[in-house]
């Protein structure tokens, strides 16, 4: 449905987007994740034909956005970071205008009212846009993107500036839209991507640093040999006992947590599972384990790790030059 090949955008000497490629299949919801200034919006602006790429191609359903812009743009509904609203128009006038601008052929009245129902703006239909709250403005922006039932929806930070209830509503809406549309959604908020997307592309400094499902990303980077354990017992002796478990690299006392219980972080050699040995040794001494959990990385950790590593790599490059 969407195919991006070796896309590069240079601003002067700076590469805002650096040789990125990815595909989005029909009906997929792709999360586009990255810190501010990573190149998310630039990529989306290229995909929608607002900007031109310096190199590379972007195909929307076989139509090149540069060579066949009119056909490609007909397939896209775009909600930019700041919704493109004419503040002095009413919602009705605005949607009428966008309907005509996008050359939509669906029955006008019915289609517009359907879209309004969907994003729940029917009750502000006659009001002037500048008087609406941020949440409503965002929804009017979304309604505009949905006009004409485009196959592809490109949403740039759709929940930014909304209150928690609205965020949940918009997320659910996006999820339900994902059944019929192909969606690319950008965000720098991780739970959002985790909650709505089937696939995540992590982008940093214009480069793709990861492209996988949220779960796989979690797995590939998490470590199965690091744990946090809470043990009831005298801390010095417990430390001594578990430090001598074969394969144990490092034990750190995290301090008291419950009455006479302490938390320890365990770091074992790779491939060595210390949990069974840990249990038997502590059971012998009648020091109960109150909690044991692996320190699997959350998407947040992964994100930080990916973007930090990449940043380090980049500064090394810069140093060589």
């Amino acid at each position: 449905m969407i195919e991006v090949k070796n896309l590069t955008k240079r601003y002067g000497g700076k590469r805002a987007v650096d040789n990125i490629s990815f595909r989005v299949e029909k009906g997929e919801i792709l999360g586009f994740l990255g810190p501010n200034g990573a190149g998310k919006s630039t990529t989306m602006n290229i995909l929608t034909g607002y900007l031109s790429s310096t190199e590379g191609t972007a195909l929307i359903d076989e139509f090149d956005i540069l060579e066949n812009p009119i056909e490609a743009k007909k397939k896209i509904g775009y909600l930019p970071e700041q919704p493109p609203l004419y503040m002095d128009m009413t919602v009705k006038d605005y949607l009428d205008f966008m309907y005509e601008l996008k050359k939509v052929t669906l029955p006008k009245k019915q289609h517009i009212s359907e879209v309004c129902e969907l994003v729940k703006i029917t009750d502000v239909y006659g009001r002037i846009i500048k008087n609406l709250s941020k949440g409503y403005k965002q929804r009017v922006g979304l309604a505009q993107a949905l006009l004409g039932n485009p196959d592809v929806l490109i949403l740039d930070e759709p929940t930014v500036g909304l209150d928690p209830k609205q965020i949940i509503e918009i997320r659910n809406l996006i999820k339900s839209l994902g059944k019929k549309h192909t969606i690319i959604l950008s965000s720098h908020i991780l739970p959002e991507v985790q909650a709505t997307c089937e696939r995540v592309v992590v982008i940093n400094k214009g480069k793709i640093v990861a492209d996988d499902t949220p779960d796989n990303l979690s797995k590939s980077l998490s470590t199965d040999h690091n744990f946090i354990v809470r043990i009831e017992g005298p801390e010095g002796e417990v430390m001594k006992l578990i430090s001598t478990i074969p394969g144990m690299v490092k034990v750190t006392n995290m301090g008291p947590r419950e009455k006479s219980a302490f938390d320890y972080t365990l770091e074992a050699e790779e491939g060595v599972d210390v949990r069974r040995e840990l249990f038997t040794r502590l059971a012998d001494r009648k020091w109960p384990i109150l909690a044991l959990k692996s320190t699997e990385l959350t998407l947040e950790d992964i994100f930080l790790q990916l973007t930090r590593d990449d940043a380090a790599a980049l500064t090394n490059d810069g140093g060589d030059k």
Partner: protein, 234 residues
């Protein structure tokens, strides 16, 4: 294109801009009509037109200042440029909206000439020449203003910039009279809008003059499209 034209016209009347433009234009046209025709008991309406030339020159920035600058500021250009519309249609929609409003204002002179016609014989050819002349001048100035509006996202800068250009065009004749070098003088004279326009006010339809104005319109519409292209590739 039609959608943009319609929206733009509505926007003129959703803000005071459209009303102010029409009111000021009609006020001055009426004033010159009274002074030149009624109180002089003259049926020569070209007095009104030659005076309205100056008024048009200074009023036009009001009409063009926000056409494209405001789109950029409000980021609504993202909706326009990602819609299945080509740049030519977009720019023409804006241009025609301003031109249509100007033409509406211009139509006030039709009432004047009808009033005169009721009282005495009219040189119709002269009236049509004048009308067409001012229409072409207006269209040229709109295209220039539109171009300047595309360069900035601040409508005040667009207005001041257009105003400066209009002032320069206005003073071109004064400059030309100071020039001794005949080659330079010819060049300055030939780009002078007011000299080209004065032919029309005398009822002379010179094809070269019409082509001159049409060229200005095409060039500045082309430039405006290029500004969008450049920004896209920038």
């Amino acid at each position: 294109m039609l959608a943009i034209l319609k929206r733009e016209l509505k926007a003129y009347f959703a803000s005071p801009i459209g009303y102010i433009f029409l009111a000021v234009f009609c006020l001055f046209a009426g004033l010159f009509f009274f002074a030149g025709c009624i109180s002089n008991a003259s049926s020569d309406i070209s007095v009104v037109f030659s005076s309205m030339f100056t008024i048009t020159l200074f009023l036009m920035p009001i009409l063009t200042m926000r056409l494209l600058s405001e789109e950029r500021k409000q980021k609504t250009d993202q909706a326009l440029l990602t819609a299945p519309v080509n740049l030519f249609g977009l720019v023409m929609g804006k241009f025609l909206a301003a031109l249509l409003l100007f033409t509406i204002a211009l139509c006030v002179t039709i009432f004047m000439v009808l009033l005169l016609a009721a009282m005495g014989p009219i040189e119709w050819a002269k009236f049509f020449g004048n009308f067409l002349g001012l229409f072409l001048v207006g269209a040229s100035l709109i295209s220039i203003g539109l171009f300047i509006s595309s360069l900035t996202e601040n409508q005040v800068i667009a207005a001041v910039g257009s105003f400066a250009v209009m002032l320069a065009l206005y003073m071109l004749d004064a400059v030309s009279s100071l020039i001794n070098n005949s080659v330079v003088k010819t060049i300055v004279d030939s780009i002078s809008i007011s000299q080209r326009y004065s032919d029309f006010t005398m009822g002379v339809f010179n094809f070269a003059n019409a082509i001159f104005f049409l060229s200005i319109i095409s060039i500045f519409i082309f430039f405006t499209i290029r500004v969008f292209e450049k920004r896209r590739w920038g």
